[in-house]
Each structure stands twice: as structure tokens, then as C-alpha cells.
Symmetry: C2
């Protein structure tokens, strides 16, 4: 029906357009009555060869990276209205920059984002990785050292590689935790051996490998003490748990929209302290050598504007819910631990992440439980994910039965019980001992 | 209703969930009967404080940058299904890269994109600007010269600025056209005066200022002759008219998804010739110094994966339509010229772009027509856009009555006539002479 209106004259619908609307309304009524009668055919393709995606509607999805990026209802509504290309640019006025647009409320949203993260200024970026890139590109010259950790995400490495920087890692302790002491020691060792300190350190609050919590507050103190700029990677925290950048002692906070803020990919946020605004969000100084053209207040690292439609509108629509949900983090952690409690009833199953869980992302090891079955099952490891799928559970890497990850973010108590019981049920079916 | 299913157990709906679905279905039936009866209230907000966006349904939108970025019906459908965060990553398998995903058909789509542009390899990027950045960052060292033109888009300047390069411009001729001769002359002058050739030249096929067509085929010959790598900027052409990169002589082709490929922002494509694949799409070589971790075939300039959801799914869903619509380019140009014919009937109105029009984006000058009225009208320049809006026409910069741009892309013959007549009607209303 929208498509009919999109091609109609603004004055009125023609007879054939009226008829098309009528026919669509009739079809919709028919669909409703079919649903009510429990009849009707399932749609296979949503458009062309693209299959309908019903992962979130039909399954409990525990995919390690997808859980907190699911759109809220409001984000899905906003997306229907604001999907078109440059949809948020309808009222772009001087000085022509995304974060200055007043309608929809992008300017206000940017200010709120900064406040939400306890920082002074914020910009939206096409994914956390583009936030790393902006900071690294601003601070790191060829040969400069960037301090990462043994658990750093690959996109941090790539940002350093793109700038010609050199990576030095901090190792975790016996529990795979990055401590403040280890960071300080490595900085001292680097200075001793290489005659200079890192130009930047990037510490992930929660790492993607184990979902362990690292000592970012301690890192903030070390950063201040050794005068090393500190980028806090909140890809797994910004949007799921409360994050106060200044309290942490971060110079930069990066978050991911599609990982943890219930937003379309690619989206993210880069927030900085006042003292860094002029460096990271520096405006263009380049000029045409003949025309002498210059380009106002466009920011070099942002390449002007960043998310001109779907991703930023979903970030905005989800934001009021995101602000509320971070207050519920304790319950998310409680439910994560409750799931693990059920999961560990299956003998031989282990947790590789720190215990008790402080996050909803967990790495487990089922080598001594489900993998034993996989060894002789005709479907091999696929028996396991197939059994889970039969029970409406999806998101665990297909065929994995040794070590694998899952994320329980957003599941209700009822879903957590169901999920935990499913593992027990499968174990019992295959004769694995259950406690 | 989807939201109910999203929180339900996979087994069955509870009584309260069944009731919620039933109540939603009843509400939907009520809405349908209201529509049929011509009653009901207009929705103001789509989510929270976000106003419903109906620009495309209620108006003829001639916004210079929005026209060819409007989603197709299939793209809007795909978006409803694939809005969630990492939606296209459900079946991401080794080697874990966006362009290798088989379901949905991202691998196939990437191959088709390259073919469509007459190039060898293609990647999707978060906007054309990120395509410029990838090429510039790969080829341009500090102090290197990049050849742009007097009409180059600011994002090209910013990409050069970010890499520490230096810009040299080619000026247009008396008709504001960049000719092959002018490009060759400037390259020679640069070599003479600065002792080196440009490391890269970027030529916009159609510029954003006038919508003029520049001699990109000639530019391709010059590029080959002087051995300067040539980036063809097709932000206004890829997705609207046929583009054959190799026939043009381009080393790199960049297009914009949200500007010309009926896709969500930020999206775009970067296509390269075989000989450039190893340079532009080079895979990571960096390693953790203690863990010795390395990161497989992730591409440095892409920072791994780029568009993991909404933008790429809309590009894919629109793509079959985009492939068809570029064949209709001649008709788009014919309609653009028909509009201009009507527009010029208003005495004093002028066209600043080249004539006859070769594109649907046009810059006009109404200083001697509508601006004369604006001078004494109590609404000033807003009288003009307000009169247009009354007639259901939107997208011309609010308040502009001197020089301004519009884009007729995608309008039907009927809409073109309506649009042209509207200008005549307004002129007549205010006593401006009409031919």
C-alpha cells in the first residue's frame, strides 16, 4: 500500500490506485482470517531469493554476538518509517552535520549519548571498529606502540595495522583476567626495552573470547599514572550495563550499536573527554589549491557524516529502552549464573570463563560430555546443535561440541529455565550422567 | 505480534500470549475497517519522540541526494525481516568474512556487484566515502599528491586529509566540465613544478554541484598514459546508469548505496581491478607479540567486516531492480529534460547545469523569477517552498529562491508533468510571466 502511495500524485489516488489499495486491504483481511483460523501458508522468501528470517521469533537465540543487538519493538517501528537512504537528512540545515540535525532529534541524542557514557562529547560511527580507527588514526604515527591485551578483539589489531603502529600485548593472569599490575608492568617493560611508552592503550572491559571482566578501573589509574591515553572498549558493555567513562578513567569510550545497543549494523558510538575533542573530532583544514574551497566543520576522522539513516534511527529509538535496561544488568548476570548452574548439572561440562559469571557471554567446554556422543554419532557434532534446534534453541556454532560460546542476554527467567533444561534433556537422552 | 513471539517459549504460546496476539489481530481488523471507511486517526509518532516519516508517500520528493536512495519495495520488505543487529551473520562460517557468507547470498552478491561494474572484485563499504578512504589510505603516503577537480565532493578531500596527502585540482571548462585535456595538462604541470606525478586521481563522473557529466572515458586514457591510478567516483551513477569500469579505464569504482542504489545508509561499493586486489583488499599481517595471534583473511582497509545487516540486505534486495533500472537511464534523462522544458517556461528562471541535461540532478537559478517575489513576500524565500509543499512537492532546500538543486530521479511521466506544472502555477499566482 505504501508503494502505491509512493507512485501516486500528491493530489489524489487514481481509480486504479484506489483499486490497488482496496485489493491490498482485502488481502490483508484474508491473511488475518487465515491466521485466526490457524490456516494459511508460510512465506518462504521475503524478497527475491532472500529467505524470511524468523530466528528471533521462532527460537531462543543465544548467538554470542547477536543477543544484545536485537532491535527493540520501537527500533523496528522506526526502521519501517526511516529505512530510505538519507532518511534523517530531511531537515539538515547549516552547518550541515549529522550530529547537528534537530529533527529528528539527532543533536539531542548525541548530547544524551555523551552523558549516558559519563563523557563530554559523542559521535555515532559505523561500528565500534570505526571508533577504534578514528582514535588510533588520530594518535598513532608509524612505529608508535599501542598496548592491547591477550584478549583484544581483532578489529583493534586491524586499526593499529592500518595506522602503521606496533602492537604490544598484556597477558592475563591464571584466571584469564587483565589486571592493573600486569598493565603497569608491561608499560614499564616497554619503556625500558624500547625507550618509549605506548601512544595508546585499548582495554576491553569484557573480552569476546571468555566474556571475562577485566580491571578497567585499575587500567584507568595506570593510564593516568603513566600518562598513556586509554581507550575503553565497551563493545560488550555499553548498552547492557552502566558505563561511566570518567569514573573508569577512560579518555575514550567506544560502544557497539549492533552488538549491545539494540541497533542496526553497522553502528557504534565514540565518546571522548573534552580535552580530546579538538584532536579526535578535529574539523577539516584542507583546501582546494585552485578553487580555495574549504569544507566548514566537517570532521576528518568521521569523514563528515556517518550514519545517515537506519542505524542511527534504530539507536535513537532503542535508546530510552537501553537506558532502562542497563539498570537491570544485575538480573541479567543473575540469570546468566542460573543458566550455568543448570548447564553444569550435565556431568563433564565445564565453564572456561571466570566463575561466578559477571557477564551473559560465556565460553564453555563440553569435550567430556556432548563431544563424547559426537565422536560416535552419525551426525558428528551436528547432533548437538540439531537436538538444540529441535527444542527451539539456536545460535551455538553449528557442529561445535568441544568449546563454544553462548550469550543469554535478554532472556527471561522462564527462557533461562527452558534453556538449561534443554541441555539436561539432551544429556539424558544420550545417557550422559546428570547431577 | 512479532514482539510477543520474540519473548515466547519456542514450544507454544501461553494463554496470555495467545490473548495478546488475538488482541493485536482485532486491532488490525479495526484499523482496516477504519481505513475502508475513510476514518481513523493519523499516527504522529512512530516510536517515542520520533515523528512518522511520510515524505515519500505523501509528497513528490525531489531532494538532490535522496532521490535514488529511496528503498524499493523489496528492500523495505527485506529490512523488516533483517533489521536486527548482525542479521546476515546467522550462517557465518570459516573463513569468517562478510563477503564469504553463502546464506543469505552475500558471496554471490559480491561477485555480481563486481560484474555489474565491469570490475574484478568488489566489497561493500559504509558509504562511498569509506571506499575513497580505503583506496587513499592504501596508495597515499604523507605529502603525496592526489588529483581532484574543482567539483570534487568534500568526502574525497577528507579522505586525502586523513592520509596526510596534498590536493591538486583540475578546473572545469567554460561549461563547468572536466575534460581529459585539462586533466593531462594539470598532471604535466604538477610533474614540472613538483617533480612527481599524483599518486592517485579521483574523478566524479557526475558532480554533486551541477550534476554535470565529466569526461571519465578521457580521464581513463589520461590515467593510463601518465600511469596515475584512477578512482572513478560513481556516487551519482552506480545504480542509476550503466557503469563499466574497465571500459572507462578505471582502476577503482566507488558507488553509493544510499545515494543511488536504493539502500539504507551508510552503504556503498568499492570495486577494483585484479591487479589492485592485493593492495586495496590486503589481508592482515599483524600479530600479537606475546600470544602470536594472527587474524586470518580479515582485510585491513575493511577493518574486517563492514555492513553486517540492514544496509547490505537492502542493497541485495534492491539489486535485481537496480540492474533493471540502469537500462532505463535514457528515459530518466528524457524526463529530466522534459521537466527543465516546463521549468524554463517561467520567465527569468535559468539552468546552471549543462544543457541539455545528461542527469536527473540539476542546479537552477530563480533569482530573476521566484526570488523577485521572495524579496517582498512576508515569508521571504519560504513562500516558494511553502507553495511547493502545498502542492505536495518537497526536497528543495527550505527558503531557497536564488540557486538551488533538485533531482527528478525515479519520477514517472505523470509526476514530471505535475511537477513542472506546479512551478508554472506558482509563477502565475504571483504574476511572473510564463511563456
Amino acid at each position: 500500500m505504501r508503494e502505491v502511495f509512493r507512485h501516486a500524485l500528491p493530489t489524489e489516488l487514481s481509480d486504479s490506485e484506489e483499486a490497488a489499495i482496496k485489493s491490498k486491504l482485502d488481502r490483508l483481511e484474508k491473511i488475518i482470517s487465515e491466521i485466526k483460523a490457524g490456516k494459511g501458508n508460510r512465506l518462504k522468501y521475503v524478497a527475491g531469493k532472500l529467505e524470511l528470517r524468523t530466528r528471533e521469533e521462532e527460537f531462543i537465540n543465544v548467538d554470542p554476538i547477536q543477543a544484545a543487538g536485537r532491535l527493540t519493538l520501537d527500533a523496528r517501528k522506526a526502521l519501517i518509517s526511516y529505512g530510505d537512504g538519507y532518511s534523517v537528512c530531511d531537515n539538515c540545515r547549516k552547518p550541515f552535520r549529522l550530529d547537528k540535525i534537530k529533527k529528528p532529534q539527532l543533536e539531542e541524542f548525541h548530547a544524551e549519548l555523551a552523558t549516558f557514557l559519563g563523557m563530554d562529547a559523542a559521535r555515532v560511527v559505523p561500528g565500534a571498529r570505526r571508533g577504534f580507527q578514528a582514535v588510533v588514526s588520530s594518535l598513532v604515527e608509524k612505529g608508535d606502540i599501542v598496548l592491547l591485551t591477550a584478549f583484544s578483539h581483532y578489529t583493534e589489531f586491524l586499526a593499529v595495522e592500518a595506522s602503521g603502529g606496533v602492537v604490544r600485548e598484556v597477558m592475563g593472569d591464571e584466571k584469564n583476567i587483565i589486571t592493573a599490575e600486569a598493565i603497569a608492568e608491561r608499560i614499564e617493560a616497554i619503556e625500558r626495552e624500547e625507550g618509549k611508552r605506548p601512544a595508546l592503550m585499548i582495554i576491553d572491559h569484557i573480552d569476546y573470547l571468555f566474556g571475562n571482566e577485566h580491571d578497567v578501573y585499575g587500567a584507568g589509574k595506570v593510564a593516568a599514572e603513566y600518562d598513556v591515553p586509554f581507550l575503553y572498549n565497551g563493545a560488550y558493555t555499553v548498552g547492557t550495563m552502566p558505563v561511566d567513562g570518567k569514573a573508569i578513567g577512560a579518555d575514550f569510550v567506544v560502544g557497539s550499536g549492533h552488538k549491545s545497543m539494540a541497533s542496526c549494523a553497522p553502528s557504534g558510538v565514540l565518546a571522548v573527554k573534552d580535552e580530546w575533542v579538538d584532536k579526535i573530532f578535529r574539523t577539516t583544514a584542507i583546501k582546494g589549491d585552485l578553487t580555495m574551497r574549504s569544507f566548514g566543520i566537517k570532521e576528518v576522522e568521521m569523514l563528515g557524516c556517518t550514519l545517515m539513516g537506519a542505524p542511527v534511527i534504530t539507536m535513537m529509538a532503542s535508546f530510552p529502552h537501553v537506558k532502562e535496561r542497563v539498570k537491570e544488568w544485575k538480573n541479567e548476570v543473575r540469570r546468566s549464573n542460573r543458566f550455568i548452574e543448570l548447564f553444569l548439572k550435565v556431568k563433564g561440562s565445564k565453564v572456561l570463563s571466570e566463575m561466578p559469571r559477571k557477564h551473559t557471554l560465556t565460553k564453555v567446554d563440553t569435550t567430556a560430555s556432548f563431544d563424547v556422543i559426537a565422536k560416535t554419532h552419525k551426525k558428528r557434532g551436528y547432533f548437538f546443535t540439531s537436538e538444540l534446534k529441535k527444542r527451539g534453541i539456536i545460535g551455538i556454532f553449528e557442529g561445535a561440541t568441544r568449546d563454544w560460546k553462548l550469550n543469554t542476554y535478554g532472556l527471561s527467567d522462564r527462557e533461562i529455565e527452558y534453556l538449561g533444561e534443554a541441555f539436561i534433556e539432551i544429556a539424558e537422552k544420550y545417557g550422559i550422567e546428570v547431577e
